[in-house]
């Protein structure tokens, strides 16, 4: 044995379980990582700890009885789930929604995007190690939005606000002035957040060039949302396939170049600014009138199938609903944005360190309710 052979230690990779119960797996997600020291050779995801079989439950509930269940899919942004499901059923049954209902839907969807990005950015920085301060600031702002949701639909998490044919109730009269006040305060909050973290050297060191996702792999993996836009794929359903009244608002889509964790963080901050613009325009242009088309409580869409999708905060969320002319959907498939966004995690993480695995996983921003359904 030459001296060099003696000198080199015999190391072999070992398997470390980032188990279902782990401080930063955003829910019950498990990764079996084979490590060589700190460097990650390969990860193998294990899921299903939160599988409740929502698609099977859908087949036993009436069309409007399933709406409360869609709150439980991506429980960080329930409004978008409700809206996506209602869009699918309205496309299937060919229902026309009154103007005011559409405007309210846009306001609620964009407020939900703000709230979701607050959670996403806050917990991403938590995963990078900032000890809960950016998280608490982001949650203080999210509390204002959740207060407004509480005023409108009575619950703070499971809103169940959208209905097939519009929105369940009109907003109380003190909602719009409070919303205008919120937009002003939120702008100041984003500026303060930028001052806090935009040029933070340690954050730059931890996230710039880390977990790069190339444009081709993003498209090939069917990744959507801020994760895809950070890699340069300018695919945003609000522009590409505008639903409800999104074509009336002027806003632009931030697109990143490098596709690393820092870009994903930046894209979410920019999207928050754009959502504020949309809400401001919607609040200015909201018409009067009914908020809900007169659709019977038990809807019976004609035989057939439809796919309704929207730009949820995490990406393209869609519902493929098949109807056999009965009061319950024959089949209701949910396009899991978080699950599909995780397909590229293996390539993004290979070769990086344990600390980066957590940072990259945090930058993808998934919710287990949507992954496991």
């Amino acid at each position: 044995m030459t001296t060099t052979e003696m000198m080199t230690f015999k190391t072999e990779p070992f398997v470390l379980n980032f188990g279902p119960v782990h401080p930063s797996t955003h829910g019950v997600y498990r990764m079996r990582a084979t490590l060589d020291g700190e460097v990650i050779l390969d990860i193998e995801p294990v899921m299903g700890y939160l599988h409740r079989g929502i698609e099977k439950l859908a087949e036993e509930r009436t069309y409007s009885g399933f709406i409360p269940l869609t709150d439980r899919l991506d429980y960080i942004s329930p409004m978008s789930n409700n809206l996506a499901y209602c869009l699918a059923v309205e496309k299937l049954a060919g229902i026309k929604i009154p103007e005011r209902g559409d405007y309210l839907r846009v306001i609620m969807a964009e407020l939900q995007r703000l709230a979701n990005h607050c959670v996403a950015v806050g917990s991403f920085l938590n995963d990078c190690g900032a000890y809960y301060t950016p998280f608490m600031h982001a949650f203080r702002e999210r509390e204002k939005i959740v207060d407004l949701f509480d005023m409108v639909c009575g619950q703070r998490l499971t809103y169940n606000y959208m209905r097939i044919g519009g929105v369940s109730q009109d907003v109380p009269d003190e909602f719009l002035p409070a919303l205008k006040k919120l937009i002003g305060q939120f702008d100041r909050f984003i500026d303060e957040y930028e001052r806090f973290l935009k040029q933070n050297e340690i954050l730059l060191a931890r996230t710039k060039g880390v977990g790069v996702l190339s444009k081709e792999t993003a498209i090939n993996c069917g990744i959507s949302g801020p994760v895809a836009r950070a890699s340069g794929v300018s695919f945003d359903l609000r522009k590409v396939d505008p639903y409800s009244v999104y074509d009336r608002f002027q806003f632009d889509i931030p697109v990143g170049e490098a596709g690393d964790s820092y870009d994903r963080y930046r894209i979410r901050i920019e999207e928050m600014r754009q959502s504020l613009l949309i809400i401001a325009q919607a609040v200015k242009g909201i018409p009067g009138g009914p908020v809900r088309a007169d659709v019977p409580h038990i809807v019976r869409p004609p035989k057939g199938e439809a796919y309704g999708h929207l730009e949820a905060p995490k990406g393209e969320l869609g519902f493929y609903v098949v109807s056999d002319d009965s009061i319950a959907p024959y089949r209701c498939h949910i396009r899991p944005t978080s699950l599909i966004n995780l397909t590229a995690l293996r390539e993004m993480v290979k070769g990086w360190k344990v600390a980066d695995l957590i940072a990259i996983f945090g930058s993808i921003d998934i919710t287990m309710g949507e992954v496991d359904r």
Partner: protein, 166 residues
Amino acid sequence: MKFERFGLGLLKGMTVTLTNFFRHPTVDQFPEQRLNISRRTRGNELIWSRERCTGCGTCAKTCPQGAIEITTSTNTVENKYEVERYQVDTGYCIQCGLCVEACPYDALFMGYAFERAQYRRGDLVQSDDALLESPQRPASGYYHPDIAAKLPRQTLLVDRIVEKKE
């Protein structure tokens, strides 16, 4: 990656933390200081009014969880249903409010209180007279604008922010 900005970004971050240190904390001491909850809150109980209820069972049909059970008997004299037993298993109920919305006779209200934890699962089941409205069981204004108007206005965090001090 270089320290391009030789530490200025870090210092700027520290100034933000310091300003927050001197800013009024956004917190309310729950048990002592109770804020007004939303007028349309869907508390974890159901309020039923015996007079208005005709025993039609629409609420039981629309409940996605099947938490409502009604047993009625025919009252041939006034030719309408007589509600024998109206039972709600709040263990199953997910407070979605679809029953309140579907009731054609406005006989159902969502509860306004939300502190109703029980020790035994059996106590979660409420029936007939336990469901009626009473001072301890106020009704929430969900789908009832008239009740909502009487309830206190919700304290919003948007108004309570004491940022004007800067």
